[in-house]
Structure formats: C-alpha cells, structure tokens
C-alpha cells in the first residue's frame, strides 16, 4: 500500500466513524436547538413586551384593570393563528390595536411570531425580572392615586350630587386617565374631556358614548366593565369638572419610576423606597427595629455579609422563631440588590444597639419603649400604625402596585394579637406559661393541649439542636413550659416534662442556648 491509499483508508474510516456518531446525536442536538430558539424568541419578545405591552397587560402579564391577563393557561393553549391575528390585527371594540406594520403598528411578522411564543412559553416572573433589570421598578400603570381629602372636598361641594361626582372622579382617575389624561387634556389615544364642549353635551349622549364606545377608536364599550350607575357618575363628574377644578381638586400625575440600575445613587433611592414601603413595618423607621431586629445597628450589619442579607430577604428569616417572610417571589433581584445596598449604606453610621433583636426578643422600636428602657406591650393600634406608615406614608407607596403589596408581612398582624398577653418580663417580651398534655411532637414542633382544650404550638429551637440536645417527650406526656408568643407558635424558654421529670432550658436571659 502506498501512502495515498493509506490516507484514503483512514479518511474514509474517519467518515464511517464520525458520521454515524453525529447522526446518533443529531436528534438531541436538534431538540436543543429548538429549545434555544424558543428561549431566544421569548427573550426577544419580552423586550418588546416590556416596551409596549406591559403598560396595559401588566409587567408579569397579570392584566391591569379592564385589560386581560396574558399569563393564563387558556391563552397558552389557544390556537396559534388566533393569537397571531389578535396581536397583528388588534381586537375590534377593545383598546387592543393592531401591532403589525400593515396595520400601522411597529412589528413585522417575525416579531409577532415571537410575541406569540412569549404568550405560549413565557416564564412571567422572569419577565418581571427583566423589566426590573432594565430599570422599570416597580412597574406601574400611570394611574394617579386619589387623595381621600380630594374626595371629601368634592362631596362637600354639592349636597345632592357631591357623592356622585366624587365617585365619578375616582372612576375617572382609575379608568380614563391613561388615554384622556390626568387633567382631561387628552392624548394621542383619547380626546380632551375637560372642555366646555363636553360639558355642554347631553347627559344621555355622554352615557351612550361611554357605554357603547366609539368604533374605530381605542374607546371601548365600557358597559362591560362599569355599571350604568358608575357610568352616570362619570358623566356627572365630567359635566362639573370645571367647578371641581376651580375648587383646586386636581389629580397629580404619577411618574412611572425608572431607575438607572447602574447608578448607585438611584439604587439607594430605590432601596429606601422599598424599605419604607415594605420593611419599615417590622424593622422600624430607619431600621430602628420593631417586631423585627433593628437593622440599623453595628451588630447586625457587621455580622452579616451582603450575601447573607440577600439570602434572608429572598428566603425569609432563618431563625425558627422568625416571622420574616420570604420576599424572593415578591421582589425582583434588582430590588433586593437595591435594598441590600441601602441597608449596607447605614453601616458607617450605625449605632451600637443594646439588643438589636425585635420586640419579642427585647429591644424594639422607640415608640414601643418606655422611658426607663423597658418595652411596653404593643397594642393592636400600634401595630396598625406601623403598617400605615409603611404603605401610605407621604405618597411613597404609589410605587408598589396592589399585587405586590397584597401579602403584607405576617409579623404585623401578629403584633396585634400579642396585645392580649399580660405585660411582663421586660427583657423577654410578654412571657407566657403553659401547662398541658402533649398532643403531638414532630421534630422540633410541639403541640400542647391545654386544660380548656385549646392547642398551643411551641417551637423547641432549631431541629438540629432539638434532635441532638433535646429531652424525651412523647405524646400524652404532661408538660409545663414557659416562653413567648411568635408568629404562629410560641418560642420556648424552658420546658419540663412532668411525666419524666426532665427539664430543658432553651433560652437563658433571652439568649438561645444553641447560639452560645
């Protein structure tokens, strides 16, 4: 054999080996390529979505007001052509316009195909994340908030129809401003309404326009959404708008808040906004502490790295007694990052707090402390106040859409219930003593039945601690224990198994023994 034949032989040998191997993996590779392509479609489409769709359909496709949600299963299984058609051509009689170039829209076939893929395959929380990473935090529809004082002012204006106008005013603010403007000045989408012409129109005509809509425009038939009474009250408001305005009742436009995520200053501002709306209720003004630990303290800030802070925010409190809920699914990563940077910014000036743990472990915010340093019993009213400051305080709450605030941290509601306990043990918060029989014990969660038949759940320290160091407790044993109330169970200072006579101390002078 000469060298050319040898080369040919090995060449063809390589072909015979390489090609079948490739052929074997080809279907897998193709499936991978399909996945990648689908991801790419969804990613491309989410950029479009955030730019143009999120304003009406919500940043996570949850739907806003009369605009339908997109994150439902029904849409995901909807016919491809149908979805394409609605996005491309719009839907008659609704505010959904045609987005295809042919309809005067912005997008070509390909981009609308991507949008269809988005509806079918999107992970909507990720789109919220993406919006956040582009600085749209928190996503808001430009709906102005109505000050109760304004409503009261309108009601005072007229004895017989003040209420109607006030209702119309509020309905206008939440339904009409997107197109017709905050002050009825109109926009590309809707006519100006705060005009003499509108005020001079017949009531019946205005009612008809609102309830039937104007075909060929974005004016939708509102009778689907609003009751006839509501429509009537809007008309009443429109006809007396000039008078109301003359009283000085004017809506202030909300600014959709865009945050420059690369600018530390604006991230700090965002962190402050989130803290003052979300965290303040438990952690107190400027992190001075409350139900939750005083975060603005040397101890907390030096003991925790950014990573640990992030972890706690994402996953909730790590202590078994903690009432800190997990915020991982409520805040986007950008918001959490901003929040951590805001907390971290306190560090240089943070005071040394005697006991940075929350009220129930001692310490507590200033308004809960008496002058001699002991903590007063937090009453239900106090708890409510804390919450109020958080969510409505000087209009900062506008940034958070309702769905983000829907789950208020459970710690707050709990604070109200502690008010029934007797004031005792300044260091420990309200101490309670319990005596009864063990109904169940599961790991470190003890359920005790009291004499009156009610059940008390008590947490016996972290599971690892109790399993290593705990005493034997079986169902039916008589126990007595002392501890203090926590979120949905009590924390134990000591426990005695009266059946076996064993006693275990879990906290000494407020310090859990497993931390010593």
């Amino acid at each position: 054999m000469n060298k050319y034949n040898v080369i040919s032989f090995f060449g063809f040998l390589a072909l015979v080996i390489v090609f079948p191997i490739y052929a074997w993996y080809e279907p897998t590779q193709r499936a991978e390529a399909q996945d990648n392509l689908q991801n790419q479609y969804v990613t491309d489409a989410s950029v479009i979505y955030i730019e143009n769709c999120a304003v009406c359909h919500g940043i996570e496709g949850e739907g806003i007001g009369a605009t339908p949600a997109l994150n439902g299963e029904a849409l995901q299984t909807m016919d491809y052509e149908e979805l394409f058609k609605v996005i491309a051509r719009g839907r008659y009689g609704t505010a959904m316009t045609g987005w295809h170039e042919d309809e005067g829209g912005l997008y070509n076939d390909y981009q609308i195909q991507q949008l269809v893929a988005l509806i079918r395959y999107a992970d909507w929380t990720q789109i919220g994340e993406l919006a956040a990473s582009q600085g749209l935090i928190p996503p808001t529809l430009p709906i102005p908030s109505v000050d109760p004082e304004m409503v009261a002012q309108i009601i005072e204006m007229s004895a017989e129809s003040g209420f109607e106008w006030a209702e119309g005013f509020q309905l206008y603010a939440s339904n009409c401003t997107v197109c017709h403007g905050i002050q009825g000045e109109g926009s590309d989408l809707g006519l100006p309404l705060n005009t003499a012409d509108i005020q001079s129109r017949e009531t019946a005509e205005l009612i008809r326009i609102i309830s039937e809509g104007v075909s060929g425009t974005a004016m939708v038939p509102w009778h689907n959404v609003l009751t006839p009474d509501e429509i009537e009250s809007i008309v009443g408001f429109l006809q007396h708008w000039d008078e109301i305005e003359a009283e000085g009742v004017v809506l202030t436009p909300p600014e959709p808040i865009w945050v420059d995520v690369d600018d530390p200053e604006s991230m700090l501002a965002l962190g402050e906004r989130i803290f003052s709306t979300t965290c303040v209720a438990c952690h107190g003004e400027d992190g001075s502490g409350g139900t939750g630990p005083a975060l603005n303290s040397q101890q907390v800030l030096t003991a925790n790295t950014d990573e640990q802070l992030t972890n706690t925010i994402v996953n909730g409190g790590w202590r078994p007694s903690s009432t800190m809920p997990s915020f991982g699914d409520r805040l986007t990563s950008v918001e959490i990052e901003a929040l951590v940077s805001y907390l971290r910014a306190w560090e240089p000036t943070a005071p040394f707090v005697e006991n940075p743990r929350g009220t129930q472990q001692g310490g507590g915010p200033p308004w809960l402390r008496t002058e001699d340093g002991t903590t007063t019993t937090p009453g239900g009213g106090n708890g409510g106040q804390g919450q109020g400051q958080g969510n409505q305080g000087n209009g900062q709450g506008q940034g958070g859409p309702a769905w983000r605030d829907s789950g208020s941290p459970p710690g707050q509601s709990n604070q109200g219930t502690t008010g029934t306990e007797s004031p005792a043990a300044a260091e420990q918060g309200p101490t309670i003593a319990v005596q009864g029989t063990v109904a169940a014990i599961e790991n470190n969660l003890l359920t005790v039945q009291l004499a009156d038949g009610s059940l008390v759940q008590a947490m016996l320290g972290p599971p690892w601690f109790w399993s290593e160091q705990g005493i034997a407790i079986n169902a039916g044993d008589a126990v007595s224990l002392e501890g203090f109330e926590s979120a949905d169970h009590m924390e134990v200072n000591w426990i005695t198994n009266q059946t076996s006579g064993e006693t275990k101390f879990l906290r000494e002078n407020g310090q859990p023994v497993w931390t010593q």
Binding site: A14, V18, F19, A33, L37, Y110
Partner: protein, 446 residues
Amino acid sequence: MTEQKLTWKEKIFYTTPNDDRSRMRTVANNLILHIHPTKVAKPALRFSYTWGLGGISSVLVMFLILTGVLLMFRYDASVENAYTSIQYLETQVAFGALIRNIHHWSANLLVVTSFLHLIRVFLTGGFKKGRALNWALGLFLLTLVLAFNFTGYLLPWDQLAYWAITVGTSLLSYVPLVGTAVSNFLLGGPEVGQTTLRNFYAIHVAVLPAILILAMSFHFWRVRKDGGISQPEPGERERVEKVTTIPHLVQIELAATAVLTVVILVWAIFVPAPLEALANPSHPPNPAKAAWYFMGLQELLLHMHPLAAMLLPLTLFIGIALLPKLDTQEDNIGIYFRSHKGRFAALFGALIGTILVPLAVLLDEYWLDLPGLFPTWPTLITTGLIPLLATLAMFGLIYGYFRKAGKLNHSEAIVGLFSFIMTSFVTLTLIGIFFRGANMALVLPF
C-alpha cells in the same frame, strides 16, 4: 475480446482494471475520468507542486452543488420567510443544520482555495505556453466564486447578510457612470429589499451555477488541450516519465477528497454557520463590514477616494489578466518562482508588503492628512489621484529595484512585484477583518 469467466468478487468489484492497457482504456471510456488523459507526466503528480488546489476547489464545488440543492428544498426567498426558513431548517429538519454548515464553510473555503490556486499557478508560470486563455478563464472563475459568495451571503436575511450586502453594493455606486445603474439593477431598487433577495437568489441558484459549470468544463478542457498542467521544459534528450492515470493520479485525488470531506464534515459539525438576528434596516451594526473577502477593498476605501479605490484593484486585475502578455519568457515554466533568484524576490516582496502596508495604514490614520495639506485642491486629487499614483509609483519602484539592485530579469522581477501586491492585499484584508472596530477605527483584536 473473449468472454472471461468472472468470480463473484470480480462481478461485484469489476471496476478495477489491473493492467496498464485496460486502465488506460477505462479512463478513455469513462465520462468522468476522461477529463484526465490516459497517462500523466510523473513530475506533475507531485503534491507539493500543485497542492491539489484546483482539484480541492472542484470537489468543494461539488459539495456546494449537492448541499445547495438540498437547501433549496426548505429555503424561501421572501423577506417574511427567509430568516424563519433558516431557523426551521436548523431546528426542525433532520441534518438541516449540518447541510447548511457544510454549504457555508465549503463556500468560504472555496474562496481561499481558488485564491491560492491562482497564486500557485502564477508562481509556477502556469499561464505560459499557450495557457493565456485558461489563465483568464481561471481568473473569471475566481470572480464567479466571489459572486457566488456575495449573492449567497444575503440569503439568510440576518443582520450580517443585510448589512454586508448593503455595504458591498454601496461600493458599486462609486463606479462612475454605470455604478448606480448596475447597483439599482442588481438590488431591484435603491435599497436592499424583497426584490434584492429574489434577484440574488435567482442569480445564486440558477444564473451563476449555469455559468460556473460551463466555465469549469471549459477550464478543465483547456487544461487537457494545453497538454496538462504546466511542467518544466525537459532538457535535451530528456524524456519525461509518464504513468497511467489509474491508479497514480486517481489515488491522489481520492486521498485528497477523503481528507477534505473529513475536514469539512468535522468542521461543519463543530462550528455552526453564523446566523445573527433578523435583518433590521433601521439598526446598522457598528462597524458595518462587508463579507471578509471584500475587507481588503473596504480597507482601501478608508484611505482613498472611492474612484481611486476602484481603479487600483481594477488596474491590478487587468494586469493579472494580461500577465501572459507581460511575462513572455517561456523557458522558466513549471519552476516555482521562476528561478532561485525569483524565490528571493518573492520573499523580499512579501516582506516589504507585510511591513509597508501596516505602516502606510498607520501613517494615513494618524499623521498624514492630504486634504488638510492642500485644502484648495479637490478631494479627487488629494485623496484620489495622489495616493493612486503613489501606489503605482511604489510598484514601479519595487520593480525597478528588483531589476537594477537585485539584477533580476524581467520575469523574476514580476514575481517579486506580484508577491508584494498579493501580500499587501492579504495584509489589507487582515487589517480590515481584525483591526477595525466601531466606526471602522483601528483597534487591537486581542
């Protein structure tokens, strides 16, 4: 011929003739093998003489035709569907991605191999002794390959395609008088759009292949008519040894094909053909570059008035086409670099090319400002005529230097000059590809 009793083995593998007479008869009687003579000169088989570049190029053309036809089944030459049809091909069609990758990489490799083929033929004087026509034909085939690549570049309709073609055809508009008309004709309008896509597709899959097959056949036929590939003149009373085509030539071709196939296949498996985002006429990438093989030209445009940047390559192209008239010394045919001195000239030419061109680019980029020096003169002179004449004068200088200082003959000096020009062109292309960043500013690629 008497009937022979054949064993079953011979019945199945009958095609291997095993004596010289029947081997020669097989070549003569076979449609495909008949592009070869029955016997070839033994020195012509030396791989390090031809490097198999012509053969490799024609095998690549075969790959391209095969995969190209397959691609046509799924490709849709409309602006709405072209890009998605490629996506469909890559994600839904069995072996679709592989076929596209083979087509893409074969096409790019073909540009390289046919260019190297030109260089090889020049260096061995393959245009001499009646081969002028085939030399011109080969040059035509090279432009055809570029036209193929250029038209094929647009078809995926991604950002890369759209902007490379937009940049590429905008060069056309600098051609005086007819440039804009030709550009409008090709694009079917002033801009790259649906008509352009259709035009390019039709040209790519019908017009060019027809011309290519005819021109290739002509090219092969001329090789036969010119007495095979160029060979050194045999000395007095010297006889060139001849061997049968089967197996001596065929086995080399087989080996080259096998290696090429494996290389292309493996490369295509591991390196996907690029597919960028959908073409977007309102978002040009920065920098917007032409296809890589036109980057030399685009680089030239940065330094010269468009007219000069057109004239210079045109002059060179005509010069190369007329080489058989310029270098008529026939006794050095078949010898690499003509002679030992020619080898030195080529090396020296390449050396000054790789040094002078980057220097000139840097000089023009940072120090030299001709229009600033002569603000009252029209730019046609300051950035057009002056650099053009300077470049041509440089060529003359180099030629003169080789003749006078190097004491080379005309033929050898041309080798040196050709080497300088080609190295300069390659260097310019490399600068354009790797050293030009955003706004076509000079950047370091690493």
